[in-house]
């Protein structure tokens, strides 16, 4: 029999727990609410790169799972983050994407905050005397902030473990690339896609979908890719080189352009649970982060980084190298987006009930091990069974 009747079609394979993912994981409202509570409100979330706030009083607004945040570099040069909401009536406090300011005044009634989050002005304070409302009690909600290799991480949980404990050695393969010389972001794009947030992560964690990428079929001549699992749902890949001249009229990447510790032709990636991938192609870095708006709608942010102090020609080349694969008009990114959206459509409509992540090939590039490790962590944090998320696997 080559096709299945409904009963057979709905029947999930009896694989080990992390080898099959229920479709509910991608579209169920209750699952999504639990993800917000147990993952995005608990985990360290890669939010931006420190070069986006180079000067004192620079600020940057962003969202984690629709929670508005502001990151600001204070007078002491430290980065701090706050929920970007006025303590008075709950209006969004800062509405610019970035800027430089020593204080933030809410447009609505002018309650004002400094860069340490302290409330420094409540107009007509005498009116609040009866209730005892004082500036000292109405600071912004601070969010834990740590910086590692230039990457700015935030955590909404005041009691979370330190970032280093969360990451383990996940970023080790990129220590030299990210930390060897100061980097800076030259490319930023924020796109909303019609897909579950994990579906985008899967396009990075799945290392064998080269077939759908014409560009990768042409350029990835060295297929000795290996994957490595890092505790906590993280992972990395390495050991792969590209022949860029195999595509269109592209040129080789000069060794002189290589990032510290990298070969100009080498691809090396780190994937961080729950929402980030740092992808390097010898001369240029891409940072992907995802942030869900709902189970079917996701913000994808892509950043491109080069070396701070690049000459004009070096920067031109890095921008070109970045855009070849990863810009919104790149030859790689749209296919990944298409895959995420087409899978989402199937799960949303109930026309797919599970997906199979059962390839076991000894952690080669053909293995689903990184996906399984990622989802094992998902299961650990949500307390849900991956194959049947209606069953709670442990007391949370």
């Amino acid at each position: 029999m080559t096709s299945r009747n409904e009963s057979a079609w709905r029947q999930q394979p009896s694989f080990p727990e992390t080898y099959v993912v229920s479709g509910l994981v991608y579209h169920d409202d209750n699952v999504f609410a639990l993800e917000r509570e147990t993952i995005f409100n608990k985990a360290w979330i890669l939010a931006c790169h420190e070069s986006e706030l180079p000067e004192k009083f620079d600020f940057r607004t962003l969202e984690i799972a629709d929670t508005p945040l502001i990151v600001v570099r204070g007078a002491d040069a430290s980065l701090r983050a706050f929920i970007n909401v006025c303590s008075h009536r709950g209006a969004r406090l800062v509405n610019e994407r970035s800027g430089n300011a020593k204080a933030f005044a809410c447009f609505y009634h002018r309650w004002t905050y400094d860069t340490k989050g302290s409330c420094i002005n409540i107009p007509r304070p005498e009116g609040y005397q009866a209730c005892g409302v004082h500036t000292g009690d109405y600071g912004l909600r601070e969010v834990r902030t740590e910086v590692k290799l230039g990457l700015v991480f935030l955590n909404l949980d005041d009691n979370a473990f330190p970032l280093d404990d969360f990451l383990g050695g996940a970023l080790d393969p990129l220590k030299e690339i990210l930390g060897g010389v100061p980097l800076e972001v030259f490319h930023y794009q924020r796109s909303e896609i019609d897909a579950n947030w994990k579906a985008w992560m899967e396009t990075n964690l799945d290392t064998y979908h080269t077939g759908m990428h014409y560009l990768l079929r042409k350029t990835q001549v060295d297929k000795q890719r290996r994957i490595r699992i890092v505790a906590g749902g993280h992972g990395n890949t390495g050991g792969m080189k590209s022949a860029y001249t195999n595509y269109a009229d592209w040129k080789n990447r000069e060794d002189s352009m290589a990032l510290p510790g990298a070969d100009a032709r080498e691809m090396r990636n780190v994937h961080l649970f729950p929402n980030a991938s740092v992808i390097t192609r010898g001369t240029v870095v891409r940072i992907d982060t995802v942030s869900p708006i709902g189970p079917h709608r996701t913000v994808v942010e892509c950043r491109g980084l080069g070396i701070k102090g690049d000459t004009e020609d070096e920067r031109r080349q890095r921008v070109e190298h970045h855009n070849q694969y990863w810009g919104p008009l790149g030859r790689n990114l749209p296919e990944d987006g298409l895959a995420a959206e087409l899978c989402a459509r199937s799960y949303r409509s109930g026309s797919a009930h599970y997906q199979v992540i059962a390839r076991d090939e000894g952690l080669t590039g053909q293995d689903d091990g990184m996906l399984r490790a990622y989802y094992a962590q998902w299961s650990k944090m949500t307390g849900l069974s991956l194959s049947d998320p209606r069953a709670v696997t442990r007391e949370r």
């Binding site: 970035s98 030259f186 595509y247 921008v319 810009g327 030859r331 990114l333």
Partner: protein, 155 residues
């Protein structure tokens, strides 16, 4: 020189080039571009407070890129450009006219639903030094920064 006829021809280069891109007739589009053609897509990022380049090619580069498009799995459906030429500036003796046009691109999915894909301005240069007017450069400056899953086809 009758400027009205020249302006009509200049507009035709812009409009017909867009019709060719709409039809994914890339050879046809390249037929409106001179061998010196340079193409860029730019956008300002308020997040970075910087101008960004999202695509930059010369004639050979854009031609090679377009030739590879059919090999890619690309976004489903079609793109359609709506263009209005706002300004045509011709300095006396200059070999090119500077043409400023507003453009909107709509995306129509396989089910027939259309939505706005992006908005921007073309800053074109069109040769006017004899012969058939040709595009010598195009900067497509985007207002829209969210292109969803992106596109393989120039705007």
């Amino acid at each position: 020189m009758s400027s009205s006829i020249d302006e009509r021809k200049i507009c035709e280069v812009v409009y017909r080039g867009c019709l060719a891109l709409d039809a994914e007739d890339f050879d046809g589009f390249m037929g409106f571009c001179s061998s010196q053609f340079k193409y860029r897509i730019t956008v300002y990022s308020p997040d970075l407070r910087k101008e960004m380049i999202w695509l930059s090619h010369d004639y050979v580069g854009i031609k090679a890129m377009l030739e590879s498009v059919p090999q890619h799995f690309k976004r489903l459906g079609t793109l359609k450009r709506h263009v209005s030429v706002y300004l045509i500036e011709q300095d006396a003796g200059a070999p090119v006219a500077k043409v400023t046009s507003s453009f909107l691109v709509t995306s129509t999915d396989p089910e027939g639903r259309s939505r706005l894909f992006c908005a921007g301005t073309y800053f074109d240069e069109v040769s006017i030094d004899g012969g058939v007017p040709m595009l010598t450069s195009r900067q497509a400056h985007l207002e829209t920064r969210d292109l969803g899953i992106g596109t393989h086809i120039p705007l």
